[in-house]
Symmetry: C2
Subunit: 207 residues, 2 copies
């Protein structure tokens, strides 16, 4: 690996770190280059624009995350335990980052989704694809769970899978805002309710 590929990787790492903390708009190419120790002229040798770099940041980040999601959601255990393992890992990730930086930076994909949904179509497409994959991975686990009996049959649908992803994103948003990683300890009991709870009879009229 020569100097060239290292510089490219450094630009990706720097952009990922800076955007995770402070978002897309607040970060300029000069700052990314400064942190990566790469000359600004070289930036455009590797990336056409900040937008193009951001698409690669998202792809690289989600490629790593996807492996982790799959690992946690696969195995011989009842599906609800695999889902619990995923949540525990997500919370541990936020906690480790918090111990290192003193901040809760939240979810890079969620942060960029909020900031860029209505503004950068290419970025929006990549983020949508990543969240769709997350929901699909959870949906597969829920389907397994309906078979092994650990997930309520009425909860093994794609809408519930999206609700699980939404609960994760919402809880991380509130933890980030409060700077309180401890609030994420409640995430699993709530996700569990989403996937194990058939609606009780007395609530059916309130549908």
């Amino acid at each position: 690996m020569g100097r060239t590929s290292t510089a490219r990787d450094r630009l990706l790492d720097s952009a990922c770190e800076l955007m995770h903390t402070r978002g897309y708009t607040a970060i300029g190419v000069a700052e990314i280059c400064g942190r990566a120790d790469v000359r600004k002229g070289s930036f455009y040798h590797f990336f056409e624009s900040k937008q193009a770099l951001t698409v690669e940041v998202i792809d690289t980040h989600w490629q790593g995350q996807r492996v982790a999601w799959r690992e946690r959601l696969t195995g011989p255990e009842p599906a609800v335990e695999r889902l619990q393992r995923l949540i525990a890992w997500l919370v541990a990730t936020q906690r480790e980052a918090w111990q290192e930086t003193g901040r809760v930076d939240g979810c890079l994909l969620g942060n960029l989704a909020i900031e860029l949904s209505n503004q950068e179509a290419v970025v929006q497409q990549r983020l949508t694809a990543a969240f769709d994959e997350q929901a699909e991975l959870v949906h597969t686990a829920l389907t397994d769970g309906a078979e092994d009996g650990s997930v309520a049959p009425g909860c093994a649908d794609r809408a519930t899978a999206r609700a699980v992803v939404a609960q994760i994103e919402g809880a991380v948003l509130l933890a980030k805002l409060a700077g309180d990683v401890g609030s994420l300890d409640d995430l699993w009991p709530h996700v569990r309710r989403l996937v194990t709870a058939d609606p009780p009879a007395h609530a059916s009229t309130a549908r």
Copy 2:
């Protein structure tokens, strides 16, 4: 009501609209003044800075929202129906905006929370206070619901109330990203699971 107060209100309205769509960092004072038809020199007569304006935008927005939240969550109906009324109103609000603009702009408070949590302490405090109030209003309704029997007794706690707020924010984030207001039609069934579902016995080992 002279010209002065009108200009101030216009600045607040313009900032609210622009920030709701495109965030805080992407919007400058000049653009806010342009949309409000107020000279830039006058801006600093009314507001010390963009940050000071943003604090007022948040306060004004949440004051209006707070009234709406209280109205929907108060009444003689079982608490779970009041909660359903709140969710229906929130979804209708997003749908109306979408019909008007073709966009799902999501939640102004959530958008600013994601963007500014780690950067603007004063803004963060106001947003934290607003979300705390939301959780408190839901918590009060859940407590009523445990008494009237429409909410599961184990769900009438503050952590569940925060999970309801998280579910709203996460679902709105995904709807905003996908530009799909229709996905919010699933929000109520999922919130209902969070508040009406005692954990089933077979899931207790997965706590």
